[in-house]
């Protein structure tokens, strides 16, 4: 297949998948199979496209041209391919996991759930492949809308309230700041195409660019930079597969991905380094890293703790984009992938614990390692990857990020990264430690069996195994990823 056809299928497959799910709603097995099959097909397509990629012959697909000279168009580039690869690889795995979780947890409205899930993937791939800022913005908003029914899935008062926060912050910041920044940029430069080295002509007023960068960063609420991070903990009311794929991978990564794109292809890495606001933003990111870690420590609810951990880790990537060095961008890009694998594993484990033992609080997990050894082992691997210890993939991205701060001679930021790693140990690694070595604690949710092995349903375990093995493999074989990330910063 030619790259053009592949690009087209990349967008069409998840869309057809959503239709297929609705059509197959009468037969639960068929319906759930659809997601998995389409997910595998999608990953194949993305991998083929990534394999064939070269800057000179990148395909372009023009969808429409709503504003003369400014089309909605899609075209792959390394960073987008990297993002699409991760999302499409983790989708079928999450779909498998979701089958076990949704049935094990007795959730309703599963057709709507899976259909919206496929639509979210569609929007994510649109963001990944967007060839200009307008297209990215369109899919960005689409992603917010497609995930909204997933966040409010439970339909309870709490879910509704969280949905309001979710929609309010994400839509509000994007409409008020991101759109303004986009239109302003178009007004100044006359183009919104993602171009290597940035699109601002030489000699553009630096103060104005500083303001624009601020607008872009605060407009991208999905990146969860403080003070616009509240939506992410709120979104944790969603079923765990949603938290895992969307609020650890697709949605939040769409946010930092957008920041990366803006830094690399709108401003250009070198220009970012010269802007005052970038300096401010990297300090804000550092603050977010520390503050979110500290909040995470104080959270007893497992999913809330993971959510704040995500806020903290996203700020790493923002930091990487804002310090304006090649190593920072490479590290940030790699961290998109590494954090994705690590965090999805942790969320899968949290969901598995919920399904198998109905526990949601960290303090209730003592001794659970003996009942769910497999899950807890996977949790350890995921936690190691987030902290950035060998033998997990997170090591490399943290390494590159540290390298980036060294290149920029930012000693304060460097120490923040190191302190934060210690904090990560304190709030993440403590969980499996207690699980394996703590005393078994009685919990009112336990029904009978308190001894013996009691793991989550098989599809869940399969998914957990895949992602935790992925974490380890990425330590030994980071070359492909590294090459793609290098290509971004070239």
């Amino acid at each position: 297949m030619s790259p053009d056809t592949l690009l087209m299928w990349m967008l069409l497959l998840p869309l057809f998948c959503a239709v297929g799910i609705v059509l197959a709603r009468r037969n639960a097995n068929l319906r759930d199979g659809v997601s998995v099959v389409f997910g595998i097909a999608l990953f194949t397509v993305v991998a083929l496209l990534a394999n064939k990629f070269s800057w000179d012959s990148a395909p372009v697909w023009v969808l429409a041209e709503p504003i003369p000279g400014l089309a909605l168009k899609l075209s792959p580039e390394p960073l987008g391919l990297l993002f699409a690869l991760i999302a499409s690889f983790l989708w079928p795995i999450t779909a498998t996991y979701a089958v076990g979780y949704m049935r094990g947890h007795g959730e309703t409205n599963q057709t709507r759930f899976f259909a919206c899930f496929a639509l979210s993937i569609f929007a994510t791939l649109g963001i990944a492949m967007a060839a200009n800022m307008l297209t990215l913005f369109v899919f960005y908003e689409l992603l917010t809308l497609a995930t909204f029914p997933l966040v409010t899935h439970a339909g309870t008062a709490e879910a509704k309230r969280s949905g309001r926060i979710y929609l309010g912050i994400l839509m509000g910041t994007s409409v008020a700041f991101l759109l303004l920044a986009t239109i302003w940029t178009y007004h100044v430069t006359g183009t919104l195409d993602f171009t290597r080295g940035g699109i601002f002509p030489a000699g553009t007023d630096k103060a104005m660019m500083s303001v624009l960068l601020l607008l872009f960063v605060f407009g991208t609420g999905k990146a969860a930079l403080m003070p616009f991070h509240r939506w992410l903990p709120a979104a944790m009311v969603a079923p765990t597969p949603v938290s895992a794929l969307l609020h650890a991978v697709a949605v939040v990564k769409a946010g930092v991905f957008t920041l990366m794109k803006v830094a690399v292809y709108i401003f250009g890495i070198d220009t970012v380094a010269e802007l005052n606001s970038a300096q401010f933003l990297s300090y804000l990111a550092a603050f977010t890293i520390l503050a979110a870690s500290i909040i995470a420590m104080s959270k007893d609810n497992l999913k809330a703790r993971l959510a704040y951990s995500t806020v903290s880790q996203l700020a790493y990537i923002t930091l990487g984009a804002m310090i304006g060095t090649t190593a920072g961008v490479v590290g940030g890009s790699m961290h998109i992938a590494m954090h994705a694998f690590g965090k999805i594993t942790l969320f899968f484990c949290a969901g598995a614990i919920l399904v198998a033992s109905h526990r949601t609080k960290v303090s209730d997990l003592s001794g659970l390692g003996r009942r769910m050894p497999f899950t807890m082992a996977a949790f350890t691997i995921g936690a190691l990857s987030i902290i950035g210890l060998p033998p997990t993939g997170g090591t490399w991205s943290k390494w590159m990020l540290v390298q980036g701060t060294l290149d920029a001679s930012q000693w304060v930021l460097l120490s923040v990264l190191l302190i934060s790693s210690l904090l990560n140990i304190a709030y993440l690694l403590v969980i499996p430690m207690r699980g394996f070595f703590g005393n078994v604690k009685d919990c009112e949710h336990d029904h009978g069996a308190t001894t013996g092995i009691n793991e989550a349903p098989l599809p869940c375990l399969f998914a957990i195994g895949m992602t935790s093995v992925g974490c380890i493999l990425l330590f030994f074989y980071p070359d492909g990823l590294h090459a793609l990330a290098q290509e971004v910063a070239k």
Partner: protein, 493 residues
Amino acid sequence: MSLFDHLPILVVLIPLLAAPICSLFRHGIVANRIALAAAWTTFGVAILLLKEILSNGTVRYQLGGWEPPWGIEYRIDILGGYVLLIVTAIAALVLSFARRSIESEIAKRRVAIFYAAFLLCFAGLVGMTITGDAFNVFVFLEISSLSSYALISMGKDRRALSAAFQYLIMGSIGATFILIGIGFLYMMTGTLNMDDMARILPDVAETRAIRVGFAFLTVGFGLKLALFPLHLWLPNAYAYAPSAVSAFLAATATKVAIYCLLRFLLGIFGVGFSLGVMPFDMILIALGCAGILSSSLVAIFQKNVKRMLAYSSVAQVGYIALGIGIATQTGISAAVMHMFNHAMMKGALFMALGAVMYRVGSVRIESFQGLGRQMPMTMAAIAIAGMSLIGIPGTAGFISKWYLVTATLEVGMWPFALLILIGSFMALIYIGRILEAAYFGTAKPGIVVQEAPIGMLVPIWVLVAANIYFGLHTELTAGLANQATAALMEALP
């Protein structure tokens, strides 16, 4: 002369003649068919006219063969053809939608009269759009206004009566102001033909009479187009009028008033005078912004959804006023574009509310509980048209917001750009309230609500589809608006 040459008069004549015929019939159904036929024919004629304008330039027609400036001249340029297209399209769609809705909201013996009044209102709006004679504008304005007072008073709620009366008082004052303004212009120029006026006016522009006339005209039109703070009549009028009337008036009446204001501001006084010599640009910008903020805020707290959308209309008029106030090519064409886009979204929204009214019998926010499941098509229409109102990309509303923001940035007024976007966010909140009730509320047990009949859904969805289509393909809306504005701004220095 072939019939083709008489197209300009036909667009007025068809509804004007069909109106008394409607009133002759006892049965509403016959009147409905006549009104439908008249509206669709007029729409067809409007399309032919627009084609003619695009290929051969401005269409002129002398009434009774009298040469201007003695006789009345109909003159339709691109902008006129564009507004004509909006008005006729909305009228045709609303009438297609109206039959059942009207049967359920209006007493049987008044149905035929209703259609007659509707057609008269329609004829008046069309006349305002195409006439080239200043006094004729007043006459058509009063035809449309008087019939709209009657239409609003036919609402089921008794508050419709007091709303109509309030509108009558304010509307008549507005119209009289316009009449005084035209009088002053006539006094100084000695002509009523708009082209002639525009030609003679620069010689006498420095007189006090012209300035007074200008002030009277703008205040008068400000009242008719519900420019903040002259909008007090609008929320009640739209809220308590029969649904079809709300849909028609919200989508067309304010638009035509804006168009007339543009004709006077730019076509007669010229940009230099109205937005330069008189500080009207700053006034428009200030009032526009105040309108956007205050009306959006009030809309958020409304319990009656029709009233909510009525306040939203005032806010949207604020956007248009802001665009005109910026007074650049981009600003004015953004305003013109928003006229078209707003007509589409508000038409769709109010018709969908009509469908809710028909099935549920109320449009208070509580009665939307659970409708997402019971009336999926209607609610989906509200959702999409609502997104267009917010300005979500991929819908028509996004395009006009885009151009409007660009226009403010071009003149370096970025705080206003932020304000426009904050307005969008407030729209998100009030639309969100409707959708939250519809999709997350639980229906009252025991009450079964059916989906709206297909005859209602089709016109609604035509407009919804148009919202999406014009969000992706803007050759017609943006292209025409740009052309029209360029012509308007070039016409005079």
